[in-house]
């Protein structure tokens, strides 16, 4: 197809990377706000949801437009189908950031419990998985995708550990309940984000290699 199409495709890819950065930003800032109990930052993250929706709608429109006008095939259709999945996953990621920010403002500001360290570790770990997926998408080097399944299993284990630990705190002292419920919910968000890293990873791998790689 024409150079025009390739140029538009490149622009769409860059725009997706831009959305990726924006979504990851919402996600990491929401956790930072939670950690520092910074309600101003939390509010600000919450307000970014409009821009997030704009990114997502724009990518939706663009992919549909390009499918209609150019009927892409082979590596081109693989790229567009990958972007479509990434749009869903990155939108979810940003929205989870919004939800975490909301928890920060709506729940009482009691000090964090020790189990929060595990939340921070889990958050960093999941963010790295997502960043590796985005990096592979950018460079078209699939090497960082290969162990995503293993890493996702570790994330699942972390979630279970956080759940059990939070449960112990809640049984110990019912004043811990609101914080611990928050932790349980966030660990669930983080676990879902690990799944989204894998979903994106599968599509990115297919985009690059033309072969399926399935994470279970």
């Amino acid at each position: 197809m024409s150079d025009k199409f390739q140029l538009e495709l490149k622009k769409l890819k860059d725009y997706t990377l831009e959305m990726g950065e924006f979504s990851v930003g919402m996600f990491t800032d929401s956790l930072k706000a939670l950690k520092d109990m910074d309600e101003v930052l939390a509010e600000e993250v919450h307000d970014r949801k409009k821009k997030l929706a704009y990114y997502s709608n724009k990518i939706d429109e663009e992919t549909l437009r390009m499918l209609t006008l150019y009927q892409p095939v082979a590596s081109d259709i693989r790229l567009i189908s990958c972007i479509s999945q990434m749009n869903t996953s990155l939108y979810r990621l940003g929205r989870n950031g919004k939800d975490i920010a909301q928890l920060t403002t709506s729940l009482p500001n009691t000090p964090h419990l020790k189990v929060f360290n595990s939340i921070c570790h889990m958050a960093e770990y999941v963010t790295e998985m997502i960043n590796d997926a985005l990096e592979s998408f950018k460079t078209e080097d699939p090497s960082k995708l290969l162990d995503l399944e293993k890493r996702d299993n570790y994330v699942d284990d972390l979630q279970e550990a956080i759940f059990r630990e939070s449960f112990t705190y809640m049984m110990e002292d019912n004043r811990n309940i609101s914080r611990c419920i928050e932790y349980v919910m966030i660990s669930r968000y983080l676990e879902r984000m690990g799944d989204h890293a894998c979903l994106m990873g599968e599509k990115i791998y297919f985009m690059i290699e033309g072969k399926k790689l399935e994470f279970h």
Partner: protein, 254 residues
């Protein structure tokens, strides 16, 4: 692909027009009751290849062929082959609709008559069946004696397909059958191709990649006389193995 019955096969097929080599070591298996599309840029050898399948290249004076085209365990190029009979079994439809300047009826009945059928009743049956199969019957059944040249381009092309079907071929070769037709006529021929594969095997050369992806089960991509890649159409159009195939079908060259 292992489960499909091969009806036609080329083995190390090389073809020369004088000094110029147009086909280089082409190995291809055509599967029975499936549609095989040949794609590639102009001059890649796809039309040359399809013409080898019923020896249309015999008419080109400085054309020389090495290798084999196997059909029913016999090399089509062996001297023992009866070319007239072979062309009855392997029919061809061309780019430009080319009906004879006769009536619709006579166009379809022409082949069977040449092959010795004289009984009017039998001929009537063949004409009706062929026109039905070519999805033309409903449009022409009340004016079979009208001149074929009065039909529209799309109808003429379907008439040519009916004419091919009338002699009960096994394989139908189509060399860009829709490139002279409008989109509606093209859609009719495409849906016809899909119906035809129940009883016949179709090999189609097309310049339209979207047509290849719509109508075919298998696709072969040719470039500079070589068969670069052959495989299931879905695979070729989503994740071809060869970089060259990818670059061609995504329009990066050609």
């Amino acid at each position: 692909m292992e489960n499909h019955e091969t009806i036609l096969e080329t083995k190390k097929l090389n073809l020369f027009y004088g000094d110029k080599q147009a086909l280089i070591d082409v190995d291809l298996s055509v599967y029975k009751n499936h549609v095989t599309a040949l794609i590639g840029p102009s001059g890649c050898g796809k039309s040359t290849l399809i013409r080898c399948f019923n020896r249309m290249n015999d008419l080109v004076s400085d054309c020389r062929i090495e290798g084999q085209v196997i059909y029913h365990d016999q090399n089509l190029y062996s001297p023992a082959v009866d070319v007239v009979h072979m062309r009855k079994k392997i029919g061809m439809v061309f780019q430009q609709p080319n009906p004879f300047p006769k009536s619709i009826y006579d166009n379809v009945a022409y082949g069977p008559r040449v092959h010795g059928i004289k009984d009017k009743k039998i001929l009537d049956g063949i004409v009706e069946k062929s026109l039905m199969q070519a999805a033309l019957w409903d449009e022409v059944h009340d004016r079979l004696d009208d001149p074929a040249m009065g039909l529209s381009g799309g109808q003429q092309q379907r008439l040519c397909i009916a004419r091919t079907l009338a002699v009960e071929p096994e394989i139908i070769l189509m060399d860009e059958p829709c490139s002279a037709l409008d989109p509606i006529a093209t859609a009719k021929i495409e849906s016809l191709i899909d119906d035809l594969k129940k009883e016949y095997t179709v090999i189609i050369v097309t310049h339209s990649m979207s047509q290849a992806s719509r109508v075919s089960d298998f696709t072969g991509f040719m470039y500079l006389g070589k068969m670069i890649e052959f495989g299931e159409t879905e695979k070729i159009f989503t994740s071809p193995d060869e970089e060259l195939t990818n670059n061609y079908i995504t329009g990066r060259f050609g």
